[in-house]
Symmetry: C2
Subunit: 102 residues, 2 copies
């Protein structure tokens, strides 16, 4: 097992292939923040922001970091930051990844 590198590549690309999710990553690089603050900053509803964030978290592109003791007080405020991913795609790499797992 431990295969299907190809399927993982597709889901990672799908996670990235969305303007809102790219903006979320861009915003969190500058400064890690809560889903609620992110929603306000981006002019989006909280549920939509939460949804996109969930997709990014599931793919490991964004992670929850330990509380900055900044916006303190409210119920368990979760701060998010982008993971340190690096994705390099060329035709040859795509072929190599797809060949690994028929």
């Amino acid at each position: 097992m431990g295969k299907d590198e190809a399927q993982k590549l597709v889901t990672t690309l799908k996670a990235l292939a969305n303007p809102i999710r790219l903006r979320i990553i861009a915003s969190l690089v500058d400064e890690p923040k809560h889903a609620y603050a992110l929603a306000k900053e981006m002019g989006l509803s909280y549920p939509l922001t939460h949804l996109h964030l969930k997709g990014l978290r599931k793919m490991g592109l964004v992670k929850e970091i330990e509380h900055e003791t900044k916006t303190e007080g409210r119920p368990s405020a979760r701060t998010y930051a982008p993971s340190k991913f690096e994705l390099l795609l060329t035709p040859e790499r795509i072929r190599d990844i797809l060949k690994e797992d028929g």
Copy 2:
């Protein structure tokens, strides 16, 4: 002009975020071929293959190359090969690309 690098990134990622389109690129890296041959090889209908190929061509990820004088004869057989693209994605690059064209 020359703007909206961000939108181009999204459409490129969308073009890549599909298992069939990744398989098409992988197959064409090994050997450039016609849409028809590609469809047969992949076990897909010609119209579906043509559709995916069209999307890849539109984004410049696949290009038509000059006839190999190989499968000669039939009506204007068009041979395709992947373009030499290179896409490197990190959180910082995403931020930089999105900042260029607010």
